[in-house]
Symmetry: C2
DNA sequence: TTGTAAGCGTTATCAC
DNA sequence: GTGATAACGCTTACAA
């Protein structure tokens, strides 16, 4: 009743609620958390007081006491990348729905950055971790999170058998779809613009390609950049027997390929067919419209969050892996509907 | 010395350090924080003990006591959008460098979502707020953050004169650049695909356009989507006297315009010139390559973070506004180098 | 059913 | 200079 003097009264505390309801703090706590048995009358009184004072329990104090922060750390190599941004969105939605907050860290593609991020997060006692690793080794990872039992789910770029789960795309199926489609168009000399081999996606896509083609002759490993894709394509085009089709392992690579072709005046899809992993929303507006393997990037974040929440709630169950489905979207760059 | 029995020893606490150094907790605290005068010897002993035990102060306990969390809330309508994702990256970098963590909330373009986010954040006692508002009114905003004095910097979409600062793009200059360039190409019937008028960018861009053209005849207000851009363009094209050039207020709108033109078989830039705000990294690969006003989206996040950090550190200084510069990048869609 | 008291890991105010 | 001691706001044995 006091404290109404000025406009800015400090936020109500549990003690205030208790006092106002005429009970002890512990009783108030129990009433609010629905723990223990207590008379309907007191419970109601407490609830009413809490409502009236607009009581908001302090997460800080609660966490300090319970050792639960209801906060999840999200670590990615680069939030500005469309894929990670979308994953983040998916994860954030699912986590929030489950009552968790997300603390974001960007490792900036560096192992040092990732380790620092993990340490900070562990320090903050996050309840769980969602990480797209930049490539730490297992031991450094464990060390960074403090050998803690903090459950961790990896996404996209996975650390071997670590963590309580992992979410990846159906890389193998996607690559197979791409290769098969090109074959249906009659191609026999297919090149691959592959991604970095330290990364799960880069590795899996290349592996499936090689499994299908039984040759590495036309494989070119690139960084995930437009420039790398352009360079590799230029080299491919200069070959004595150039490929008649190329598969890009990501949009950036495909864009680079497109740029190279434009420079060299090779027309798609007549002189060279192009298909790619990742279906950007401007895919249909490129010239030619891009045939691609598409998927919902948010889904990988969401799925990872779901896995993590389960792990945080009931320990056990063991490690789980989920694959986010992909689909082939046919446009013109592969030769479909061409001529 | 004890506790080494098993691999998992709980993290060292200040008390452990103090004990190990043979001093009291308060002394240890002072040594670690460099507060108060104490003998060089004790300080060294404490530091050594802390190092040896790999002591990491608990942010939770510290925050509870000091009422400072070193955490900043970041609220955006949609993290998956390239612009916000980039802003986030910029902000995150600057904040981390200044010792702050970022807690991310996505309002999902809804006012309700934003209010909920703000409440949660206020509840967590964040030291500051970075928000691209979805459009709350001033009173609800103040109420949500609890009438608190938590400094807030707005970005992109700004709440009138609220908060300690705001960061926006040079919308007026950008629009002027676009209009002038089109005029140089001889255009006199220029249309504008405008953005939502509840949003700062949408509003400012439209205003500058009208200021330059002195007419709203060819202005079409759209949502920030490809579909809206397409629809509006179709309508424009069907006019008795259609425009000879169009300015899109964002990439999505430009993409929609492109799609509409393709459908109708109108060739760019001959039959219609197109220029746009936002220079996507695939801008050069579209057909025709897009002339656009570009800027560094990360910079808006970074600038906002800088403003916020200053506000959090020394209260005062008053409200400040910064504008992130833009530049015109000429490609073919405007008519440059055409024919 | 409810209250008392201890404690989570810090920092701040006092004495000594 | 350094050490008790009391918060910060909450939960949870343990008593009553």
């Amino acid at each position: 009743m006091r404290e109404q003097v000025t406009g800015r009264r400090r936020a109500a505390t549990l003690a205030d609620v208790a006092a106002s309801a005429g009970v002890s703090a512990s009783t108030a706590s129990r009433a609010l958390n629905g723990r223990g048995e207590l008379s309907a009358a007191t419970r109601a009184a407490v609830l009413e007081a809490a409502e009236r004072l607009d009581f908001q329990p302090s997460p800080l104090a609660r966490s300090l006491r319970t050792r639960q922060t209801y906060t999840v750390g999200f670590v990615v190599p680069d939030v500005a990348s469309p894929f990670y941004a979308a994953s983040l969105k998916g994860a954030q939605g699912a986590l929030e729905a489950a009552g968790y907050r997300v603390m974001l860290m960007d490792s900036d593609q560096s192992i040092e950055g990732e380790v620092a991020a993990l340490r900070t997060l562990a320090n903050h006692q996050v309840d769980g971790l969602l990480v797209a690793t930049a490539g730490v080794e297992r031991t450094r990872f464990d060390q960074a999170v403090g050998g803690a039992d903090t459950p961790c789910v990896f996404l996209d770029n996975v650390l071997d058998g670590a963590g309580v789960g992992a979410v990846m795309l159906e890389n193998a199926a996607g690559m197979t779809l791409l290769v098969d489609h090109l074959r249906e168009h009659g191609h026999t000399r297919i090149a691959l613009l592959a991604g970095p081999q330290q990364e799960t996606s880069g590795r899996e896509r290349l592996q499936s390609f090689v499994a299908a083609e039984r040759s590495e002759e036309l494989v070119r490993v690139c960084a995930w950049t437009q420039a790398a894709g352009r360079g590799a394509t230029l080299a491919l085009l200069a070959l004595e027997r150039p490929p008649t089709a190329v598969i890009a392992s990501s949009v950036e690579l495909a864009l680079g390929c497109l740029a190279a072709c434009r420079e060299q005046g090779v027309s798609l899809p007549d002189e060279l067919a192009l298909v790619t992993f990742d279906d950007p929303d401007f895919g249909a507006l490129l010239e030619p419209p891009l045939t691609a393997v598409g998927y919902d990037p948010r889904e990988v974040g969401r799925a990872a969050a779901v896995l993590l929440v389960e792990a945080m709630q009931d320990h056990g169950k063991g490690r789980r892996e989920v694959r986010v489905p992909i689909t082939l979207v046919r446009r013109r760059s592969c030769g479909c509907g061409a001529r």
